[in-house]
Symmetry: C2
Subunit: 488 residues, 2 copies
């Protein structure tokens, strides 16, 4: 199924148009049938939004985009297609009529997938000449970014159909989840629907507004669901006592009026055992503590990602950092000012400014001054230890001309047994105008074996003292930054 070159899309609304964008961006030609007004324009708008986001998401180059062809009949759209994706309104009779026409004209080996959120494939494939090729391929909005696609076959669906479709969707960057038992609304929408119905009650009864309900999700459980879902999160909360123990404690709550949904399964021994065993299998040998670390790393990354777009829980983080900054402002602690220089005549380039590599020379000399300051004298060096730079990030902000007096202020950004992360700020000594900054990662090495090794005493002790002071300083926001992508 890697070789699919042409897909027919029946319906080009929010879901259908999202599919069209995902197909085209993966180099697949699309025959779109959508008789509604402005369908082509909508599809193009969606494609341009999708292109922007997908280019940001994917670091690999994308294939040459497929071609979009607007068709005037289902027959025209499907008769040369290798895969059909139907995304028409959620109406069983309408979908049946359309899908039967698709079945009539599509080549025999062409798979037919319906985007339905809830209708059963067995109901959709009635009256087909070739029902074995029909499946549900249920995506999530926006289709061009959301990884999940639920696959479900009906009673007459060939298991090979699900396998082939899973490979096809997977090569589009999606996560195919095969629903093992045919059921209305499959899995994700059942969970969403339960939550949604509870949310409607909360509004109906004036317990909360739409915004408060959304906040309860996005500052809370939504952050965990994005990463682990619900069972794995509860497994961690249960701790080393195990999932079975945790679930038995959970049982009583099912009798409490904690949602309007009071029709609950009996959480008996059998169900507890079933869930515990499934949870064990899901953990794939990771201990509670390992899962906890993954959860925490994931939360840190997600919160920081939301901070980058200044949204939801990311705003809370920024507000908190501002609060901490204000608290700290009362206790400034000076940086290390260990190096000054004048811009020499031979540091000037053809533009009349300080040559690029002379900046690094100045920063290198500032690093040497720092090393000397902490006691790394020539005796230390000749005894066979030194510090090597492994990484450097320079930002040029202003200019320096011949004769200018420059100074470097240095901040320790991090220190461990063998490494030192520092920041140099190069500025005009008279005006404090910042000319450039340099962040360096330094490794302590044995210069005889050329192996990394721990800092020696008493230097290590001096460094730890400096780092203890500097770890209390505000870290400039540009520290730890990267060179940004250019918008495609």
């Amino acid at each position: 199924m890697n070789s699919i070159k042409t897909v027919a899309a029946i319906g080009g609304g929010v879901i259908g148009g999202g599919w069209v964008a995902r197909f085209l961006l993966n180099g697949i030609d699309v025959n779109l049938y959508d008789p509604s007004d402005g369908a082509a324009e909508k599809a193009h708008n969606l494609l341009s939004k999708a292109t922007k986001s997908v280019r940001k998401l994917v670091t690999q180059p994308l294939p040459t985009p497929g071609k979009l062809k607007l068709c005037t009949s289902i027959r025209e759209a499907v008769e040369v297609a290798e895969f059909v994706q139907e995304s028409t309104p959620e109406n069983l009779e309408l979908k049946k009529t359309i899908l039967r026409e698709v079945d009539q004209y599509a080549p025999i080996e062409c798979l037919i997938a319906s985007s339905t959120s809830g209708l059963k494939p067995s109901d959709l494939q009635t009256g087909f000449s070739h029902p074995e090729r029909l499946l549900v391929g249920h995506p999530f909005n926006p289709v061009y970014l959301m990884p999940l696609v639920e696959l479900c076959g009906g009673t007459k669906t060939d298991p090979q159909t699900l396998k082939k479709a899973a490979t096809f969707y997977s090569n589009l960057g999606m996560h195919p989840l095969v629903v093992r038992k045919e059921i209305d609304a499959f899995i994700a929408d059942r969970l969403m629907e339960a939550l949604w119905r509870e949310a409607l009650w909360l509004i109906e009864e004036d317990v909360a507004t739409a915004e408060e309900i959304d906040d309860a999700l996005r500052y809370g459980p939504g952050l965990r669901w994005a990463m682990m879902g619900t069972f794995q999160i509860y497994r961690i909360a249960g701790g080393e006592a195990g999932m079975g123990h945790f679930l038995s404690q959970f049982g009583p709550a099912l009798k409490w009026p904690w949602t309007k949904l009071m029709d609950v399964p009996d959480l008996d021994e059998e169900l507890i055992t079933k869930i515990s065993e499934q949870s064990d299998a899901q953990a794939k040998g990771l201990s509670i503590s390992e899962l906890e670390n993954i959860r925490d790393q994931g939360l840190v990354e997600i919160l920081k990602s939301l901070q980058r777009i200044d949204w939801a829980a990311g705003k809370t983080l920024t507000k908190y950092e501002n609060h901490l900054r204000l608290q700290q402002a009362e206790h400034p602690s000076p940086l290390l000012d260990l190096y000054t220089t004048t811009v020499h005549a031979d540091w000037i380039d053809y533009n009349g400014h300080m040559t690029e590599h002379r900046y690094l020379q100045a920063f290198g000399e500032a690093t040497d001054a720092l090393l000397e300051h902490i006691g790394m004298a020539s005796r230390y060096l000749t005894a066979g230890h030194s510090v090597y730079t492994v990484e450097t990030h320079i930002r040029h902000l202003a200019e320096a001309k011949e004769g200018a007096l420059l100074k470097v202020s240095t901040q320790i950004l991090g220190k461990d047994l063998k490494r030192l992360r520092i920041l140099h700020i190069l500025s005009h000594a008279t005006t404090d105008e910042v000319v450039a900054t340099a962040e360096h990662m330094l490794l302590h090495v044995n210069t005889k074996t050329l192996k990394v090794c721990p800092f020696l005493e008493p230097l290590d002790n001096t460094l730890n003292g400096l780092w203890a002071d500097h770890s209390m300083l505000a870290v400039p926001t540009f520290a730890g930054s990267r060179i940004q992508d250019l918008d495609p």
Copy 2:
């Protein structure tokens, strides 16, 4: 409430211990009362996990940590406290007994918060001498990272109590959500419970396993809930036709067996209007298209953040990129090899290796070679235009000694009207061993006005051609990387 210096924590389990960590990390002293075995050890373990994550999350320096004191009685813990956080097991009678003792010994102005997930504050404050100071402050696990805390007062709670507690929690980096109407399980847990009960049915009826249910969430709706919740996401899906129109379409689904929860509110005109108005208020003037852009940026950031920890939807993305890489591998396109050099004797430092700033000199000369290659000859320069480096990221990977023959291969990473982002790879010409890499952001400037300005023709055209070729190349994963934090 900014001035709280001492908090009493009653109970130090998963939730209580998480609170203790959050308090200590914010410089607040904690009196912990927890008579269970190993309580102190548990608290310390949680603190060390929390410290690691919070230091990664927060770029600002944290205050000097508070001191943890283990108390042998509730009285000892609370009598000098300014705030009490109770986190004992979810048992009404137990909590009432404990909270009454807290009320007896805590100073009058001390607030008393219960971490209960579901019990009503009116029930908890019965028998208090000072019930006006009791509130629910319901956090989420892990308490030291999750922003949400739900606040709820009982019939006797002073509204000022909720305000003061909100300020206190907010200064700890949390998002306080005041629940406007007292109800079992407040807001977030009702939503979680509805979803959880549906999940239990799915397992009970063998529709899905624990892992499949978690996957349905974390590859799907969980990603959106983390950022926007449910109403705002539906608002976007509804499009320009508006929330009211979308909801009326949604109505019929409530009658369908899409969850086990069939006891639903009537989605009549009145409820639709109420939700639509609340949704309008929530959007705060952002258009559907603006919300859509925020959603898509957020999804991109969250997916990339999960990719950084190689987990869940982040793994799907990596798998997709590998697939694209394989597809591309059939069409390699050569980098630009425009510069070679020999390591001169005066490039060698006291360690016998090439001096740091000479690397940047070599990279600078390679950039000059690239500029010359695209047609930026001296005529272009003297006519008043040039290219300035604004950012540089160097990674040192191997060594170069005197006389070594080095070459630079150059890849264009991005190009817009006024900027060029490039990558130089410096390697031994004979062995291809990579010695160092440098990523640069270059700005095209008018050297007379010193203002950034668009590249001129025909150079711009040449660059666009190069960029068109190079945009199809695989981007090395280290491109766009940053200097990493050192683990505290």
